[in-house]
């Protein structure tokens, strides 16, 4: 599980930093007549809602399967609770609080 601070990982971090800087600098350093392409504008609206769930889902569903445990229902249930709270409150901290509390309660009482 551990992410070691070896040369390989540092290279990934530097490359990630480089592409991030390029995205930030893009229209600031490009000539002023450069336009935002329509496809980019259109796609950007959907990047977060496509990519973030695609990262979350395997992390929640399969994390412990990969570690050799059975299907991880505690995290799945806690994530469902958090989704409900996120939908209702639209608050990061309420979502975090609800999700973590749900997970901790289940880990403590082990209802199933």
């Amino acid at each position: 599980m551990a992410i070691n601070s070896d040369f390989y990982t540092w290279s990934i971090v530097c490359a990630a930093g480089a592409v991030t800087l390029l995205a930030r600098a893009s229209f600031i350093v490009l000539p002023p007549e450069t336009r935002v392409p329509a496809w980019l504008q259109r796609s950007l609206k959907f990047v977060a809602v496509a990519v973030l769930p695609a990262i979350v889902l395997p992390d929640v569903l399969f994390r412990d399967v990969q570690l050799g445990h059975s299907f991880n229902s505690y995290r799945v249930i806690a994530a469902l609770v958090a989704m409900l709270v996120a939908w209702k409150t639209r608050s990061i901290f309420a979502t975090l609080g609800a999700g973590m509390t749900a997970l901790w309660l289940m880990q403590y009482f082990r209802p199933f």
Partner: protein, 291 residues
């Protein structure tokens, strides 16, 4: 030949060059301080988020120095969490970097929106200010000093004609509202925001990393990463196209789990974003026809 005193002042400060340098300095300083002050509420709002990001990084198994270095090099919270999540899932380098890029593509929109404010600066300064560009200083700069000029609005240069003469005020309509020269110190205002935001963010991250090393693994603090993403995604599901995108992309990841090297994520992202963009395109065309 008459001596032109201003020739060695680069074109980066065209309007101010004819002014008393002390006054310019004073104005720049006050713009800087204004930015610093304006950013205070945003900075205090960031403190818990930074601490959780730092703690989650350590809880996910990241070495403290690596987490700190990443925070300084990348300087974008959500993409850092995405990278950490993927690194723990043993994704290959290019998937991690591609994901960070995609999560941070929104900076291109910010970049387009703030570009008119920085047009008079040297390339080096442009790169420097670019590094500091985040959600907060973009929002504050563009909302405090809105560009009336339609072309320079939030989604930028779509129908602008280029402004070839930097001597012309960025926003001609605003000339009546405030002193012309004040408009020339947006970079100082922006830097004022950033010079509070950046160190405070790094400090809270450092604190979170430190706290994370003390918190036992049973607390499962790494679960904060998916939770933060859920908190970001659900409020963003504002239309049918958004819902469909999220559902299709999630389903695609589950069914592409067996693809090697986490390629499923890339597939899911491409499928999801293309579907969303297509639906959006179709909806716009429909509206256009019905009108």
């Amino acid at each position: 030949m008459p001596i032109v005193p201003n020739t060695d002042i680069p074109a980066t400060r065209p309007v101010t060059s004819s002014q008393d340098p002390n006054q310019v300095l004073r104005m720049r300083r006050s713009a800087f301080i204004r930015g610093f002050k304006d950013s205070t509420p945003a900075v205090f709002g960031l403190i818990p988020f930074g601490m959780i990001t730092g703690a989650a990084a350590t809880a996910a198994g990241m070495e403290p120095w690596l987490a700190m270095g990443m925070s300084i090099i990348v300087y974008a919270g959500a993409s850092q969490l995405a990278a950490i999540s993927l690194l723990t899932q043993h994704a290959p380098a290019f998937v991690v970097v591609a994901t960070v890029l995609v999560v941070n593509l929104r900076f291109m929109m910010y970049s387009a929106a703030v570009a008119p404010y920085f047009r008079h600066l040297s390339t080096r300064k442009k790169w420097l200010l670019s590094y500091f560009l985040v959600d907060h200083n973009f929002a504050m700069l563009t909302s405090r000093y809105p560009l009336d000029h339609q072309s320079a609005g939030a989604v930028a240069n779509t129908d602008s004609d280029p402004d070839p003469d930097p001597d012309i005020a960025i926003d001609p309509a605003a000339k009546n509202r405030q002193p012309h020269n004040a408009k020339q110190h947006h970079d100082a205002y922006f830097l004022g925001i950033s010079c509070f935001l950046w160190p405070m963010w790094q400090l809270t991250i450092a604190f979170g990393i430190f706290a994370g090393t003390l918190i036992p693994a049973q607390w499962s603090l790494d679960f904060a990463i998916p939770l933060i993403f859920l908190a970001l995604v659900l409020p963003a599901l504002q239309s049918r196209a958004h819902w469909l995108t999220a559902i299709v992309a999630s389903t695609a990841t589950v069914f592409t789990q067996d693809l090697p090297m986490k390629l499923g994520l890339i597939v899911a992202a491409i499928v999801g974003v293309s579907l969303g963009a297509w639906l959006d395109d179709r909806a716009t065309k429909k509206t256009a026809v019905s009108i």
